[in-house]
Assembly symmetry: C2
Homo-oligomer: 334 residues x 2
C-alpha cells in the first residue's frame, strides 16, 4: 500500500519557479491556478510567452474539468534567480538537464532562499544525492519529478537524497498534495526513478522495432492507443495482469507468465546503435504519422482526451479520478 | 501510415471458436454481438460458464457504449473440434500456449474445416511460421493476437507466416474489421509480435524495481495510472514524445533524448532471477493492493472505465474512438 496519512496537504502562498520552459511553465500554471503567487526566473526572452501559452492550456483544462480557476495567484517574472526565490516558501527547479547547470542554479537558489525553503528539482535524470554533493544546505533538496502536462497529470515522484531527512520528503509531499497532486515517495534514490525506468525500457524496445523494420511509429502507437494504453489509464501493469490471471489469483498468473521471461523475445540485452539513419527513419515516420497536426493542436487534443478520461475516472471513483476528487475537495475548503 | 484501403470489412455468418477460456470466450462474445453464429469447442466442463460470464460483461459494455446488442448470433457448444469447424467461414484458435497442443489442435481443425477457411491463432508467443511447419494447408494460418478484454479493445495484431499469402492476411484483416476491430498488420513474423515485446520490456523493468525494493506494485501502478497511462490511452509513445519535443519538431526531441540511451538507467541487460521469493513478494504486494476487490469486480470496474474512455475518444474523434465510430457505422449498415 502507498503510505497513507504520512503527509497532509500543505497550502502555501508564495513559490518560485526557476526555469520556465514547457515543464517549468506547467508547474507555474498549476501553482497559479491553486492560488499560489509565483515568482519566475528564466533568462530566455521567450519565457513569459511560454508561460502564457501553457497557462491558457491549463485554464482550459481546469475549466473543462470543472475545477475552479477563479482564485488565481499572481506571477512576476523576476530579474534573477535570487529575486525569484528570496521570499519563496517552496522552489521548483526545472532548468536544463545538465549537471553543471543544475549545480550553478542550485547555488544561486541557496544563496537567496530562506534556509528552511524546500527545493524540488524536476530532473528526470540526475540523482538527488549527486546534486547534494555541492550544496550548502543539501538537506532541503528533493527531486519532484512530474509528468507532462504537469497541470493535468497528478503524479509526482518525490525522491530524497542521502542527506534529505524524511521530514523534508513528507513536507514536500504535503506541498505537492496542496496543489492537487499525488506525490509518490520513491524510497530509493536510483537513476531515473521509477516511471522513467519503465518508459526507457519501452522506448528502447520501440526503437528496436523501428530499427529492424518490424513496425512503424504509427503501428506501435496504434497498438498502444487501441490496446494496452486504454488499460493503463485506469489500471497499471500489475493490476491489469491480476485481472488477466483470472479467478486463479495472481500467483497463478505469475506461475504462467514467469517462465516466459527466459524466452528470447525482446532485445533487452543491448541498445540499437543510435545512427543518423535510425534517427531520420523515426523522424520521417513521425512526420508521416502526425505532421498534419502542429504541436499546439496536439496538446489541445491530448488535454481534451485526458480531461475526458479524468471525468470518467472521477465519476467511477477510480485511480486518477480520486486525486481529482480530492483536489476538488481541497479547492472547496480554500 | 497504416495501410489504408488494403482491406475492406468482411461480414461473415458462421465462425468457430476453438478454446473457450477467458480469451476464447471474449472472442465468441465479440462475434456473437456482431451477429455471427459461433460454434465453440473446449474440452473443459467450465467452458460454457466462462462464456456466460464473459458474454454478460460484453453485453453490459456494449450497452454502455451504445452499440447495439439486439442482433446477436447464436452459439452452440460443439462435441468436438471437428464439429465446431465443419461449417465455419473463419476459425479463431485460443488454446493453451504450448506448441504440442497448438500442433494437435491445428491438425484437428484442418481435418474438418473447409480448405479456404482462414484460421486465426490468438497465440502471443508462437510464430505463425513455426506453427505452419506441421500443417497440411499452412497458407490458411495467421496469428490474430488480441488484447483483453477482446470484446472491448479494438486492436488485433495480424501476422502471416512464411507460407501465408498476403491475400490471406488481408482477408483476415477484413474479417476482424467486420467484427469491429482495428487489425494492425505486423509485417515481420517475429517472436512476441509488437505489443508483447513492448509489454515484456516494461514487465521486466517492473520486476527489477520490485526485486530491488525500489517500488511496490502499488507505487508502480500509481505512477502509471496517474501519469503516463493517462497519455497512452489516447496517444502512443511516439506521438506523446512528439508533443514533449515541443515546437522544435521530433528531430529536436530525438537529438535531446537519444544520447541518454547510453546512460545506465534501466536494467535491461539481464533479467532478475525468478525466485520463489520474488514471486511471493509480488503476489503479496498485489494482494495488499487489490485483494479487496475480486477479479470479477475488477473486470467490471475496468470495463466501465474503458467504456468511458472510448466514449470520450469517440466524441473527440480520436484514436480508439474512431474505431468505435467505424464499428457503429458498420452496425448501422447491417
Amino acid at each position: 500500500m502507498a503510505e497513507p496519512a504520512e503527509y497532509e496537504p500543505i497550502s502555501i502562498d508564495r513559490a518560485a519557479v526557476v526555469g520556465c520552459g514547457v515543464i517549468g511553465a506547467a508547474w507555474a500554471s498549476r501553482m497559479l491556478l491553486s492560488g499560489v503567487d509565483v515568482a519566475i526566473s528564466d533568462p530566455s526572452p521567450d519565457a513569459e510567452a511560454i508561460l502564457t501559452e501553457v497557462m491558457a492550456n491549463a485554464v482550459a483544462a481546469w475549466d473543462d474539468l470543472g475545477l475552479s480557476t477563479a482564485n488565481r495567484g499572481s506571477y512576476v517574472m523576476a530579474e534573477s534567480i535570487g529575486d525569484a526565490v528570496a521570499n519563496a516558501q517552496f522552489v521548483q527547479e526545472s532548468v536544463p538537464e545538465r549537471p553543471e547547470v543544475k549545480e550553478a542554479v542550485l547555488a544561486e537558489i541557496e544563496e537567496a532562499a530562506p534556509t528552511d525553503t524546500i527545493i524540488g528539482s524536476s530532473t528526470s535524470g540526475i540523482r538527488a544525492t549527486v546534486m547534494q554533493e555541492t550544496m550548502t544546505n543539501p538537506e532541503r533538496l528533493v527531486v519532484g519529478h512530474p509528468y507532462n502536462p504537469v497541470y493535468l497529470l497528478p503524479v509526482v515522484e518525490v525522491v530524497g537524497g542521502e542527506k534529505t531527512p524524511i521530514e523534508v520528503v513528507r513536507r514536500a509531499q504535503g506541498i505537492y498534495a496542496g496543489i492537487g497532486m499525488k506525490p509518490v515517495h520513491v524510497r530509493v534514490d536510483i537513476d531515473a526513478f521509477i516511471g522513467d525506468r519503465l518508459l526507457e525500457a519501452l522506448w528502447r524496445e520501440a526503437l528496436w522495432l523501428v530499427n529492424d523494420g518490424v513496425a512503424t511509429t504509427q503501428e506501435i502507437d496504434d497498438i498502444m492507443t487501441h490496446g494496452f494504453g486504454l488499460r493503463w489509464a485506469q489500471m497499471g501493469l500489475f493490476e491489469t495482469y491480476r485481472v488477466a490471471g483470472g479467478t486463479g489469483g495472481f500467483k497463478h498468473f505469475m506461475d504462467q507468465f514467469g517462465p516466459t521471461l527466459e524466452w528470447p523475445y525482446s532485445k533487452l540485452m543491448d541498445t540499437p546503435e543510435y545512427t543518423d539513419e535510425l534517427v531520420d527513419t523515426i523522424v520521417e515516420q513521425s512526420d508521416a504519422q502526425s505532421g498534419m497536426h502542429d504541436v499546439r493542436e496536439l496538446e489541445r487534443i491530448r488535454d481534451r482526451n485526458v480531461v475526458g478520461f479524468l471525468k470518467v475516472l472521477e465519476t467511477n471513483k477510480w485511480g486518477a479520478g480520486n486525486a481529482i476528487a480530492e483536489h476538488r475537495r481541497l479547492s472547496a475548503n480554500d
